[in-house]
């Protein structure tokens, strides 16, 4: 379990973070620019932000919108993607729609949505929803399409109805692919969360960041960047654990290591 290479693998992310901070520190000291605080200054500003009730409420509100947007997106996109993957008619109907929406940066839709729904939670949650949906739909679609026909036939022979086959065969068989989509979706949720708050300044983590930028409080700006980055790392790590547990049955059995030694 704890062979040297396993230890190295465990410690690697920490070394990466420390390395990044060290480069930042050196670069900042070398540039001597007021708008580029050192890593240590930025880290020192973190407790101030997290200790402040107002900021904390803002950050939690952001996370809440993100969770709701992500949750609804996943609940809608997985069934839609699976249906598209198994029914040519459904795919033919939705594919052109999605192709239109796909290349549009979701944050660019913000101003339009704001005109309809205001600058409140609904607008921001909707933008997060849009950002998360597409990768989840796409991966669910691809996953469902790739399900081995004979597996569905086996289910049909056991008496599973088409709906049961979708839920009890297509869904689990496509799960590894679906979860890959969800993981991308999670990162996109964080990105759209921040950008939505950059455009509709009112509350949230993005609001703190861009307000501080306007007021020239650069250590707060960089502290917020660290906080958002850390949130991303934690969310991803938690998600990855859940994912690994759910699809243990599909993980490759043997690695083909790129051995340097």
């Amino acid at each position: 379990m704890t062979s040297p290479s396993a230890l190295a693998r465990r410690a690697a992310p920490m070394f990466a973070c420390i390395g990044l901070l060290a480069v930042w520190q050196v670069a900042s000291l070398a540039l001597k620019n007021d708008s580029f605080p050192t890593a240590i200054e930025a880290i020192r500003a973190i407790p101030d932000i997290l200790g402040d009730k107002e900021s904390l409420i803002n950050i939690l509100a952001s996370l809440r919108r993100m969770a709701i947007g992500f949750g609804i997106a996943v609940l809608v996109s997985i069934p839609l993607g699976l249906l598209m993957g198994r029914s040519r008619a459904v795919a033919a109907f939705f594919n052109p729609l999605l192709m239109v929406i796909y290349p549009v940066p979701k944050a660019a839709l913000m101003p339009i949505i704001m005109l309809w729904l205001g600058v409140g939670d609904i607008t921001k949650t909707l933008v997060i929803f849009l950002g998360v949906s597409l990768p989840v739909i796409y991966h669910s679609f691809e996953g469902a399409k790739a399900v081995e026909e004979k597996m569905l036939w086996s289910g049909a022979a056991m008496g599973l109805s088409p709906l049961q086959r979708l839920i009890r065969i297509v869904l689990p068989a496509a799960l590894p692919e679906i979860l890959t989509g969800c993981r991308t979706g999670l990162v996109l949720a964080l990105i759209t969360m921040i950008t939505s708050e950059m455009i509709a300044r009112q509350s949230g983590a993005g609001n703190i960041l861009f307000n501080a930028l306007d007021m020239g409080q650069y250590d707060t700006v960089y502290a917020m960047i660290i906080i958002v980055g850390a949130m991303g790392i934690c969310l991803d790590a938690v998600f990855e654990r859940v994912r690994a547990r759910l699809v243990r049955w599909s993980e490759p059995q043997f690695d083909m290591p790129l051995s340097f030694s």
Binding site: E148, K150, M151, W153, S154, A156, A157, M158, G159, L160, I169, P172, A173, L175, V247, R248, W249, S250, Q253
Partner: protein
């Protein structure tokens, strides 16, 4: 058919085995044409007619690509024939159903289920109580020689082991007709022989109707009442050979039996002809 006393004789149901055989599956002038990517029609099956009697063990032999799997899929109701019809007990087959259990060449196990989960899937679907389904499934797993592997996932099994799970999974929901597509193809000679014997024992016990696709002439003669020889491009039935050998069959006795040897030699010669000439002649 006479009931011959044997170690499995206590299992033979004298009522069913002495009834006059009646047709369970009728394949009626079935043809299957595929559109290939080159936009040409490809006739995979041409005008296949075959009647399978209830409780019969029928093997389909033929060169690779002659449409054996396709014929099995049509009987299973997974594929609709381009023309012709298949009836089961007089009813037209319109789709798959638990009365016909397939064992696919590609296994098609559910990779997210363990061996036990796979085998229990069918009985559970048919609302057999969990404890009962589990007990039956464990017995089947033991029968196919996978005791101790109940909690393994398919990716953790060898090809031959997967094939045995696939067989157990289908047997578990007691289909009236077994549709087996080279179920022993991925097995080593030893396991293959063992499973042939086990299959014969099960079959002699409950006289399921079996439609069995194979490449192996020995296997076909050893197991079957009837061997259907197919030829290629287009897939046609070349000959139907009744295998008139006593049952229950024991491998060690049969191998020495001149009648068995003659069947094997004759059918092998026929196979060679079919393979060389196709359906053209």
């Amino acid at each position: 058919m006479k009931v011959v006393p044997s170690r499995s004789s206590e299992w033979v149901n004298p009522v069913t085995s002495q009834q006059p055989a009646s047709a369970i599956i009728e394949i009626d002038r079935v043809s299957q044409v595929f559109q290939t990517s080159a936009r040409k029609d490809h006739v995979a099956l041409s005008d296949i007619s075959l009647t399978i009697e209830e409780g019969a063990f029928v093997s389909i032999l033929g060169p690779s690509g002659c449409g054996k799997s396709t014929l099995l899929y049509i009987v299973g109701g997974f594929v609709n024939p381009t023309s012709g019809a298949v009836r089961m007990k007089g009813q037209a087959i319109t789709g798959p159903g638990p009365d016909r259990g397939p064992v696919f060449q590609e296994f098609a196990l559910f990779p997210w289920k363990t061996v036990l989960g796979n085998v229990m899937y069918g009985p559970r679907q048919q609302r057999v109580r969990a404890a009962e389904a589990e007990a039956q499934s464990r017995a089947l797993i033991e029968m196919v020689g996978l005791k101790g592997y109940e909690n393994f996932y398919p990716k953790e099994l060898s090809g031959g082991m997967k094939q045995r799970v696939a067989l157990a999974r289908t047997l578990a929901y007691h289909p009236e007709v077994l549709l087996m597509d080279e179920p022993f193809g991925a097995l080593d000679a030893h396991t293959r022989t063992r499973l042939q014997n086990d299959l014969l024992n099960i079959w002699e016990r409950d006289r399921k109707t079996v439609l069995f696709v194979t490449h192996s002439v020995d296997e076909a003669v050893f197991l079957s009442d009837k061997v259907v020889m197919m030829s290629k491009s287009p897939g046609r039935i070349r000959e139907v050979i009744d295998i008139d050998l006593p049952r229950p069959r024991r491998r060690n006795e049969l191998l020495l039996d001149p009648r068995y040897q003659k069947y094997v030699v004759d059918i092998e010669r026929m196979f060679d002809e079919v393979d060389e000439t196709g359906s053209a002649s």
